[in-house]
């Protein structure tokens, strides 16, 4: 019944669309991988390895099959849908990663407003600027943004107000964002149990992390409202011309750590701060540094435990012509207060990626990823060594068609 007001709003908007003037924008892509990996059993196969593909799952793999749609509803409203299949064995038939209505009125006197209603990513990532919340620099996201893709989604409403100083002859633009959301109470279970990993998986709204019935995440449905408390975030953005971007976010799902569903899905009280700086130069160089620190906690049956966590990365990239070469260093950790240090993690990673955008349709990418990690839960849950050095090399071939990519 909760969906009813949204349906009424949507049909009202559809009725308001004047004629068929607005054309639908769509995009379909298929990204196939050739993978070589010596990684431990991955998150997606019931393990606690940090890579997307483990040594049992390399060779030819599905990277991502994606369908995206933007349907304008009149001049200033649009419906945006993004669905992807990441090769999971038990994928939900509707693997939607984002679905929202966007309100984009024309800017007035230098001020611009944006409103999003539905399910979407909060403004955290400075690297996932390409279509479908993907990175134009690497195949695998940083540990920080991999976690966002796994566990975090705004299911609610977000408003953004920007002052477009550069359009008024100044050197700076400023923006402020605020969001209110629900249905994300379990967020925190993955980082507290298995720590961070580096991948380009995004948990679909009706999907799971690590497969249904996973040994490490038996109850891994992330998009649930459990305690009836709305979460919120507030963010700020400053830009110097189009060269420097500063992005900051405070996020709190305000979950009641003692709440749980009848079938044992806990509400994880998760809050974090994130800040990042991005610099782009005329020579094609991009540098990104991003920092995040937060805590997640649960209190089942009065037993409180907390997992402070952090993730940081620095990325440097050079684009020339159709080539992009990037290198990234990640460092991340979880500090557990639970028994047996359950969930403790220390890790760091190196990523080097070369991307060749051959045409509007074909993209070729080669990425090497090395992760060193110490995860206490590997011994507790799987009776495996806590320390791992993992390597993954991926060759990706992606083909895209769409309304914006004519032959």
């Amino acid at each position: 019944m909760k969906a009813l007001p949204a349906c009424i709003a949507l049909s009202t908007l559809c009725a308001a669309v004047p004629g068929s003037a607005w054309s639908t924008d769509w995009e379909l892509s298929a990204d196939m991988r050739l993978v070589d990996s010596d990684g431990q059993r991955s998150l997606f196969d019931g393990g606690l390895g940090t890579l997307r593909y483990d040594s049992e799952h390399d060779g030819v793999q599905v990277g991502r099959l994606r369908a995206a749609l933007t349907q304008p509803l009149g001049d200033v409203w649009a419906l945006k849908l993004d669905a992807s299949y990441f090769g999971q064995d038990d994928a939900h038939p509707v693997s939607v990663t984002e679905a929202f209505l966007e309100y984009r009125p024309y800017p007035l006197d230098g001020w611009r407003t944006r409103v999003r209603i539905g399910a979407f990513y909060p403004p955290v990532s400075l690297e996932d600027t390409a279509a479908g919340w993907s990175s134009p620099y690497t195949l695998s996201n940083s540990a920080l943004n991999s976690w966002i893709g796994e566990e975090i989604r705004t299911i609610g409403i977000e408003g953004k107000l920007e002052w477009l100083g550069t359009r008024l002859g100044h050197d700076f633009d400023f923006g402020a964002t605020a969001g209110v959301f629900g249905w994300n109470d379990p967020a925190g279970v993955v980082v507290a149990t298995g720590g961070f990993s580096l991948n380009d998986f995004q948990t679909p709204l009706f999907g799971y992390v690590g497969g249904r019935g996973s040994q490490v995440f038996p109850e891994n449905e992330l998009f649930h409202e459990i305690d009836g408390h709305a979460g919120y975030y507030v963010g700020a953005e400053a830009r110097y011309l189009d060269r420097v971007t500063l992005l900051a976010l405070h996020y709190d799902n305000r979950a009641d750590p003692s709440a749980e569903t009848s079938n044992g899905i806990y509400a994880w009280d998760t809050h974090f701060n994130s800040a990042g700086l991005r610099v782009d130069t005329a020579g094609g160089w991009t540098a990104i540094i991003q920092w995040m620190a937060g805590t997640t906690s649960v209190e089942p049956d009065g037993e409180y435990a907390a997992w402070p966590f952090y993730a940081r990365f620095a990325l440097i990239s050079r684009q020339w012509g159709r080539n992009t070469l990037s290198a990234r260093y990640d460092i991340f950790g979880v500090d557990s207060s639970a028994e047996y240090n359950f969930g403790d993690e220390d890790g760091h990673a190196w990523t080097v990626a070369y991307i060749f955008n051959q045409s509007a349709h074909w993209r070729f990418a080669l990425e090497w990823l090395h992760v060193t990690s110490e995860v206490a839960s590997r011994a507790v849950l799987l009776n495996e060594p806590t320390f791992a050095r993992e390597n993954q090399t991926q060759l990706s071939v992606r083909y895209t068609i769409g309304s914006d990519r004519p032959y």
Binding site: W22, S23, G110, L241, S403
Partner: protein, 217 residues
């Protein structure tokens, strides 16, 4: 040479001389703070009161590959500009500049009536869908206008005798427009040159990357 032929030749010379005495060439030489030529600067030349502004024109400012083409145009007050949209995607062109506020949704293949610019000033154009797009229409009440060439030069011939105010503008300018104004007098047939040098460097030019280059292509 017959007497008649000589008379015609003499008359012609006198006439040409008189014309030259009444009008000269006005040149502008613009340089950046580091003395390099200032190419692409918008030059406007206003006469004293009573000099008529240039006649209105009709022109086109296209949208190609998510950019405004050309990125800057200069038009006299009263001109009309058409925005045809040669891209396959829709655009939503807007301006909140005081000289002309407008909003114009552009679909591929759907023509819209031209926009009329009836007030002098700089009109900054944006697209509500593609945030990186930026373009400028300089609407001027000046008698003469243009843009400096690669050498930072611009000139106009046949300028009647009188005093003129030369102004310079560019979207990346940090100097105030007032500090770059020069007064030039055309007294006879010799050319008058106004030299303008910026005191501050320009802002860095926008990065060429389009939304697409950050994505797949």
């Amino acid at each position: 040479m017959s007497r008649t032929g000589a008379w015609i030749a003499r008359t012609l010379l006198v006439f040409l001389g008189a014309t030259r005495a009444l009008a000269g060439t006005l040149s502008v030489q613009a340089s950046l703070a580091d003395h390099a030529p200032f190419a692409g600067a918008v030059v406007t030349v206003r006469g004293e009161a009573g000099h008529a502004p240039a006649a209105p024109i009709s022109t086109i400012l296209d949208q190609i590959n998510l950019t405004f083409v050309p990125d800057i145009i200069v038009v006299p007050v009263g001109s009309t500009v058409e925005f045809p949209n040669s891209d396959s995607v829709s655009h939503q062109i807007y301006s909140f500049s005081p000289a002309k506020r407008f909003q114009l949704p552009l679909y591929h293949g759907k023509p819209y009536p031209p926009v009329h610019f009836d007030q002098a000033g700089v009109v900054t154009l944006g697209c509500n869908i593609h945030d990186r797009m930026v373009g400028y229409i300089v609407v001027t009440d000046a008698a003469y206008f243009g843009r400096t060439d690669a050498g930072g030069n611009w000139s106009v011939t046949n300028v009647p005798r009188g005093t003129y105010h030369v102004s310079l503008w560019h979207p990346l300018l940090r100097d105030s427009v007032a500090s770059l104004e020069r007064e030039v007098s055309i007294t006879g047939d010799e050319s008058a040159t106004s030299t303008v040098q910026l005191a501050q460097p320009l802002r860095p030019a926008p990065l060429q990357a389009t939304a697409r280059s950050k994505d797949a292509y």
